[in-house]
């Protein structure tokens, strides 16, 4: 496994009005890593994802992806360059089937234009056909073929979380950011998600994992970043982080 830095964050800060959600954060995710990001509710984990993905503007500090500073790169271009994510609160597209939602992911890597679409060019038709097959295969990998035709708004929260992972992976990312992927899942399915994360990482995808299930985090992650009030309070290997006194005190009184 190479030690090349895929994502480098330096001096990153973000505040909402007077509230500092991310403060002077430095960290690196190297290629091939599963990096856990943990911390109590409100620690700034989702805000950090939004900054990296380009949903929130990163005004203080730098975000480097594959060596290039991406602070001013629009969110959709960051997907082109190899980022994908899921959302803590589901963001599946309404008015579309589950299959079509995953097809949207595949389309991040296809190119048919507006004119080709309107004129139904052979290339556009071929593209739709192959994307549909790929999306179906992606759903099958998660054992979700049975949901393919269902409306995305008609499935359960837990199913939606998994569909979002399938959709993000369909975009063929190099870095995937998973925001609490097992929240709302029945106990039996959590292990399945863990297997999925392990497998996509084996395929070479770097993972940033925000997760409250400590067993999962400790067993999956190569490296863990702990946030509290937007600041890094610890970083390192799971066995080191779990014994860190500051981490223990941050979690005291937390239900996690």
């Amino acid at each position: 496994m190479s030690r090349e830095a895929l994502l480098e964050v330096n001096g990153l800060s973000h505040s909402f009005g007077g509230l500092t959600a991310v403060a002077e954060l430095d960290f690196t995710a190297t290629r091939g890593q599963i990096k856990g990001i943990i911390g109590p509710n409100g620690a700034g984990k989702t805000t950090l994802f939004n900054l990296i993905a380009g949903i929130l503007p990163a005004k203080v500090g730098t975000i480097r992806f594959k060596g290039e500073i991406v602070n001013r790169m629009p969110a959709h271009k960051r997907v082109d360059s190899g980022m994908a994510r899921t959302f803590q609160n589901l963001q599946l597209f309404a008015g579309m089937s589950v299959l079509e939602n995953v097809m949207i992911g595949c389309h991040a890597r296809t190119r048919a234009s507006f004119l080709e679409a309107v004129l139904r060019s052979p290339a556009s038709v071929r593209e739709t056909r192959s994307v549909r097959d790929r999306a179906m295969a992606a759903l099958a990998e998660f054992g979700l073929e049975r949901l393919a035709k269902r409306q995305a708004t008609d499935i359960s929260f837990g199913e939606g979380k998994v569909v979002e992972i399938a959709r993000a992976l369909a975009a063929e990312p190099e870095l995937v950011m998973l925001d609490e992927p097992t929240a709302g899942l029945p106990h039996g399915d959590i292990q399945e998600v863990a297997t999925v994360i392990r497998k996509l990482n084996d395929d070479g995808i770097t993972v940033l994992l925000v997760e409250h299930n400590m067993r999962l985090v400790m067993s999956l992650c190569d490296d863990i970043l702990v946030l509290n009030y937007g600041r890094r309070i610890a970083e390192g290997r799971p066995e080191v982080v779990r014994k860190d006194p500051e981490v223990l005190s941050a979690y005291l009184g937390e239900d996690a």
Binding site: P74, F93, E116, A171
Partner: protein
């Protein structure tokens, strides 16, 4: 139908083939409509149905699929009508060429409005388009030497093909049948494509869309311009059909009615505009004896739809189909007799 024959156990393509087949059947039925229509008045109404369908289906792309409220579709319709009509009536330009110029003008004005307004989130497009419709209404009224002002533009010649004027209700019916059929097919092609799926994400969440690589601004701008082009085509058809144009036809009220009809038909649904256009064409005729009742009826229907049928007529039909199916499905006990 070739799609289904390819054999993959697919979802969207089967549905795609199904929808195309439905469209073909509907258009085949419409083909014989002039033969069974009791009189010319009904055929004339059918021409307006086609024109209204183009208007509502094109507006549905912006409102239903991109989730943007546009309040100037009437103005694009009017710009298409006046550009095409004035060129033909005052400058002897061929109506065909005029129609192309009209499309260029509507598309270009949509670009000018969309470039600043669509960059911003929220209701900026609604505001900007509201202003644009007001400006266009003033221009239609005040540029009297060109438009004829409030008295209307007269002397607009018809389209002619191979030296034959498309003047009778029946010939124009077939002309509109072709144009509208082609546009409806192109719209479906769009929906069932990479671009169309990207476009359809925007009504849910632009944040999620951008997190899947979709440049929402670019998508909205292209759809807004394409939709204006189609309204321009509808305008050309209108003015060369009735050979006349008057400013109030393209007022702010028209724009609002068209939005209402998108909602009443069922926004974001491919078939919604068919129902919207049927209602928009038929209701004013039925209420002709009662002045201004039509505004009341359209206003009331908007409120009722929003309250009880958020998915419009199409959603209502789906609900009814569900009830009927359930009512007529034999219970497990009955089946085994």
């Amino acid at each position: 139908m070739t799609d289904a024959a390819i054999g993959a156990p697919t979802v969207t393509t089967q549905e795609g083939a199904h929808t195309r087949r439905m469209l073909a059947i509907l258009w085949a039925i419409l083909l014989i409509f002039p033969l069974i229509a009791p009189n010319n008045y009904i055929i004339n109404l059918a021409v307006f149905f086609f024109i209204n369908l183009i208007l509502i289906a094109s507006l549905n792309l912006v409102i239903g699929y991109c989730g943007q409220i546009s309040l100037c579709h009437g103005a694009f319709f009017g710009l298409g009508a006046y550009a095409s009509g004035v060129l033909a009536a005052k400058f002897d330009v061929s109506p065909w060429l005029g129609a192309v110029v009209a499309m260029g003008m509507t598309g270009f004005s949509a670009l000018l409005i969309g470039l600043p307004a669509l960059r911003l989130r929220g209701h900026y497009l609604a505001m900007a388009t509201l202003g644009f419709n007001a400006i266009m209404t003033v221009l239609f009224n005040e540029m009297i030497s060109l438009t004829g002002g409030p008295n209307g533009l007269t002397g607009v010649p018809p389209f002619s093909l191979f030296g034959v004027d498309i003047v009778t209700d029946t010939t124009f019916f077939y002309f509109a049948w072709v144009v509208t059929g082609v546009l409806m097919l192109l719209i479906y092609n769009l929906i069932d494509s990479r671009f169309g799926r990207g476009m359809r994400t925007l009504a849910t969440s632009e944040i999620a869309a951008s997190s899947l690589g979709i440049d929402s601004f670019r998508y909205k701008l292209i759809v807004f311009v394409a939709s204006a082009l189609m309204a321009g085509i509808a305008g050309s058809m209108y003015v060369h059909f009735i050979n006349f144009a008057s400013p109030e036809t393209f007022s702010f009220f028209t724009s609002v009615f068209l939005v209402v009809m998108v909602a009443v038909g069922g926004w974001g649904n491919y078939w919604g505009p068919v129902f919207g256009a049927l209602i928009y064409t038929a209701v004013p005729e039925l209420l002709r004896a009662f002045k201004d009742l039509e505004i009341f009826v359209f206003g009331l229907s908007m409120v009722l739809v929003l309250l009880f049928f958020p998915d419009g007529v199409v959603g209502g039909i789906r609900l009814a189909k569900g009830w009927i199916l359930r009512a007529y499905t034999p219970k497990a006990g009955d089946a085994g007799r």
